[in-house]
């Protein structure tokens, strides 16, 4: 009942996120579920880009949220939840890649929310997804993480550096190399397929 009342009052605002953290810290699973809903897209999609397949990305996301629950006391405010989650997601994906090194077939690439009514458009979207996945696979693990966080998730260079535990200069270097490699891949891909 307490949890339901809490869910009814909590919105997406930062103050409410802090309330969700406080309630989850007190052991309220409904509040923790709300916290997961607020960050699940960020965690799962980042993991998907870093790992390249949905099954592993879901495993990684599960581990990230379990770790969040067990470390809620360390996450003091709503503003640093995202930073904490990005850092832990990158670390868990790194560990998972070490444990399960495997090439990923293209048909393992996650399906979008729903197939559109326009087959032409659906085909274009599918191709775009393939290009995204394949071009990320061309990168080293560090270049990939830097590009995903900086260019796809839109973090600042400083935030990326914090999430990856490296310097801003290193991140800038990794990002620029990754962009050049992605451009080369995309050009080659369309030269071959169009």
């Amino acid at each position: 009942m307490k949890a339901l009342a809490f869910l009814a009052t909590v919105g997406p605002m930062d103050g409410d996120r802090s309330s969700a953290i406080a309630a989850a810290q007190a052991g309220d699973l409904a509040a923790f579920e709300l916290l997961m809903r607020q960050h699940e897209r960020m965690v799962l999609v980042t993991a998907l880009r870093l790992l390249g397949n949905l099954e592993d990305a879901q495993d990684a996301s599960q581990e990230v949220f379990l770790r969040l629950y067990r470390n809620l006391r360390k996450v003091e405010s709503a503003s640093n939840v995202a930073g904490w989650l990005y850092r832990v997601t990158v670390n868990i994906c790194h560990d998972l890649r070490r444990r399960r090194p495997r090439p990923v077939a293209l048909d393992e690439i996650a399906e979008p929310a729903a197939a559109g009514p326009d087959p032409q458009r659906s085909a274009t979207e599918a191709e775009r997804r393939s290009v995204l996945e394949l071009s990320l696979r061309m990168l080293s693990e560090k270049e990939r993480a830097a590009l995903v966080l900086r260019d796809l998730e839109g973090l600042s260079t400083e935030e990326v550096a914090r999430a990856l535990g490296s310097s801003e200069a290193t991140v800038r270097s990794q990002v620029s190399k990754a962009r050049v490699k992605v451009r080369e891949f995309v050009e080659r891909y369309f030269r071959r397929h169009v």
């Binding site: 699940e40 379990l66 629950y69 995204l132 190399k177």
Partner: protein, 192 residues
């Protein structure tokens, strides 16, 4: 400067990662270099394509599956914790109940064994000679005191006049059958 040398800076420029002065320098070069214009345009297009693909929403079921797995695991951990707490609580309560029951059980409380008097040690003391009480009272003998050199050492009490002293052996049996304590004592009492 070779156009290769501009690649890194152009790549940073298209992502908005350069300071204003450096960005202006890159813009000046790109404006004058057709090859770098193509390069910069290719970078922008590929980044745009990746961002669009990244923005495509995933099916809600993928998120729900993760949520369900996390919540199931947390609920399972809680159940296991409560189960452990119950088991430990019950075990502690049972242990306390056993201790209490054992402690209050009549005749079972651990009590020291009563010493068993085995008998008189050695030969019975010959009857003491009659004491001339009156004489002793009339002519008190000088008291011989032992030197008080050592402190804390016990001194035997002087025999009481008119008392009978009987040595007895006391046998103390302990719980350990290998340990038996023999104690030779004196029983003092009036000679009758």
């Amino acid at each position: 400067m070779n156009c290769r040398d501009w690649e890194e800076r152009i790549a940073l420029y298209v992502g908005g990662d350069l300071a204003a002065s450096e960005a202006a320098e890159v813009e000046r070069h790109v404006a004058d270099c057709a090859g770098c214009q193509v390069f910069a345009s290719g970078l922008k297009q590929s980044l745009e394509l990746l961002r669009e693909a990244h923005q495509e929403p995933l099916a809600a079921a993928h998120f729900a599956a993760v949520r369900a797995r996390v919540l199931a695991e947390l609920a399972g951990e809680r159940r296991a914790w409560w189960r452990r707490a119950w088991v430990y609580g019950l075990a502690a309560a049972a242990a306390v109940a056993l201790l209490v029951a054992f402690a209050v059980r009549p005749g079972h409380a651990p009590q020291p064994r009563r010493p068993e008097i085995m008998g008189q040690a050695g030969r019975p003391t010959p009857p003491e000679p009659k004491v001339q009480v009156a004489e002793a009272a009339a002519q008190p003998k000088p008291v011989h005191r032992r030197p008080q050199g050592r402190t804390g050492s016990r001194q035997a009490a002087p025999p009481v006049l008119g008392a009978r002293v009987e040595p007895v052996m006391v046998k103390l049996e302990t719980d350990d059958p290998d340990v038996v304590i023999y104690w030779i004592a004196e029983i003092r009492g009036d000679a009758k």
